[in-house]
């Protein structure tokens, strides 16, 4: 197929030569019109030639088509394209002369090219001729090869991306940012997460700017987060410490239907760096927290729950490689450690 394109510039040269030697003749215009209509058929796939175009110059179109396909089969590379083009041009002009009326001169090659028209642009030309010639730029094959090229690039890229995707996981921050409705407080309120000089451990009841908390100063002991499903309220000051270690804390309003509570529990139970508890006064049926992140949801079957866990479990932490075991396993609404530490 590519020989059609390669052939073109050399043909133009031939056409120019022919146009330079042959004097313009009024009849040429008519013939030109006929061959021009046949030209797209020869350049694009033969099957695509519309009947209307090929109807009038049937005789000249047919040899042009056959010569096009014969040039395709005889040339094996671009190096031989020039010689092939010469042959083809000769053949085309020959057959065209045969089919033409006697005494008329045929422009060699394809008149769709600009060359002959410019040369033939004498005083006697109708003003419509240049317009027709300009539209002679054949968009059919250009579009076809562009689409084929894009398709090829697309297919190759798809194959490469499929391999790449298995090899590289999108960074967790990007995965988190892609979750609809998630709030990244690390980005919006970085001050909340700064560790004061005296440390970020403080016993007793603490207040947080969000409900439930998403980080900040917390109790010295963490809530056990080895896939623990707590049936009653736990101290937020202890759960915040769990999140500092990289845990995802799932909270739900106590009126959440049991089926949904069970669905949530199935994502938590026996899964490390996960904990779950009811949270009275929650302003949404479900709220997911990790260190710095929060996502409020209406339903336990929401697909974003798995996305949240996949992005943030273990990854969202202020203390990488800290553990989830050895924490408080009792569920108490207020901190177990209410006394301030003597040293802090």
């Amino acid at each position: 197929m590519s020989t059609g394109d390669v052939r073109r510039p050399s043909l133009n040269k031939l056409v120019n030569k022919a146009a330079a030697t042959d004097k313009p003749d009024p009849d040429v215009i008519e013939d030109e019109e006929g061959e021009e209509a046949a030209a797209p058929a020869a350049k694009t796939t033969p099957a695509k030639a519309s009947p209307a175009k090929s109807a009038r110059p049937a005789k000249s179109a047919a040899p042009a088509r056959s010569s096009s396909s014969s040039s395709g089969s005889s040339s094996s590379g671009s190096s031989s394209a020039k010689t092939t083009a010469t042959k083809t041009a000769a053949r085309t002009s020959g057959t065209a002369t045969k089919s033409a009326r006697p005494g008329t001169k045929q422009p060699a090659g394809r008149p769709g090219a600009r060359g002959p028209v410019k040369a033939a642009g004498g005083k006697g030309r109708k003003p419509t001729a240049p317009i027709r010639v300009k539209s002679g730029v054949n968009w059919g094959p250009i579009a076809m090869f562009s689409i084929a090229g894009l398709l090829a690039v697309g297919i190759i890229a798809w194959g490469a991306v499929a391999v790449y995707k298995n090899e590289h996981k999108t960074p967790w921050q990007q995965r988190a940012a892609a979750i609809a409705g998630i709030h990244n407080y690390l980005a919006s309120n970085p001050d909340w997460f700064k560790v004061p000089a005296e440390g970020n451990h403080k016993a007793g009841i603490l207040t947080y700017p969000t409900n439930p908390p998403v980080g900040g100063i917390h109790n010295p002991t963490w809530q056990n987060c080895m896939g623990d499903v707590y049936d009653s309220q736990i101290a937020k000051e202890q759960a915040t410490h769990s999140m500092e270690h990289g845990a995802v804390w799932i909270t739900y309003r106590p009126d959440l239907p049991k089926a949904q509570v069970d669905e949530l529990a199935s994502k938590v139970r026996n899964q490390t760096f996960m904990l779950m508890s009811p949270y009275p006064g929650l302003d949404a049926p479900i709220s997911l927290q990790a260190w710095g992140y929060q996502l409020k949801l209406d339903n336990a079957s929401d697909k974003r729950i798995d996305q949240f866990i996949d992005a943030l479990r273990i990854n969202a932490t202020q203390e990488p490689q800290a553990g989830c075991s050895g924490g408080i396993t009792d569920a108490t609404p207020t901190p177990l450690d209410m006394a301030p530490l003597p040293t802090q």
């Binding site: 040339s75 190759i156 194959g159 090899e167 996981k169 967790w172 623990d228 996949d310 273990i314």
Partner: protein
């Protein structure tokens, strides 16, 4: 050059073949340019993730024994297991980071193991204790701590060795094979220590 291009069917077939060929080129290019590390679906990555979870429970139970067991040998063994396995979790999570992967995956746990899914009960991998069992160990006192720890840890090690065998059978990367082999060696040795301790405590394996 290509006479079959003259027919409609010929062109369709040629187009389809070209698409397959280009897809192969794309896969080939992707494979050639990849950094030579395991993919998200590899046994290496699956082992690193799942063994980290499995190890985390050994750390939990080992620390309980370290704090509460009555026999000094059991306290020492609990501390030894906890420290070793916590360190190995760090190694395995570093692998995943180095491989451009993540500690998390949307793939089901144990899906890298043949029949792995079937062995998974309530997110529990082979040999793992339930939360209720861990709570029982946590609230136990005296010799009961020693007995429960030895029973749970023996079962835990046997499950862990089973997972190690599965990854070794799948031709893992050298660093994975090396760590997996040392896990097998150490845990097999500890299995016999745990059996001896259970006999000493007058108890049976689970």
């Amino acid at each position: 050059m290509f006479p079959f291009l003259g027919t409609r069917n010929g062109r369709i077939i040629a187009g389809a073949l070209a698409a397959v060929f280009l897809l192969a080129i794309g896969f080939g290019a992707g494979l050639l340019t990849r950094p030579g590390t395991p993919g998200d679906d590899s046994a290496d990555a699956g082992f690193a993730r799942d063994m980290s979870t499995h190890h985390a429970q050994a750390v939990e139970m080992g620390m309980i024994a370290f704090q509460k067991a009555s026999l000094p040998e059991v306290r020492t063994l609990g501390g030894d297991i906890a420290l070793t396995q916590k360190g190995q979790i760090g190694v395995m999570s570093t692998w995943l980071k180095d491989w451009g992967l993540d500690v998390n995956t949307t793939r089901a746990p144990m899906s890298w193991m043949p029949n792995g899914q079937a062995e998974l009960v309530n997110n529990l991998m082979p040999g793992m204790a339930t939360r209720e069992e861990v709570a029982k160990l946590n609230s136990a006192t005296g010799k009961q701590v020693d007995i429960l720890f030895c029973q749970y840890m023996l079962r835990h090690h046997l499950g862990g060795i089973h997972m190690v065998d599965d990854v070794l059978a799948q031709h893992p990367r050298p660093e994975v094979a090396e760590l997996a082999q040392t896990m097998k060696q150490n845990q097999t040795a500890e299995v016999s220590v745990l059996r001896t301790l259970l006999t000493q405590l007058g108890a049976q394996p689970l």
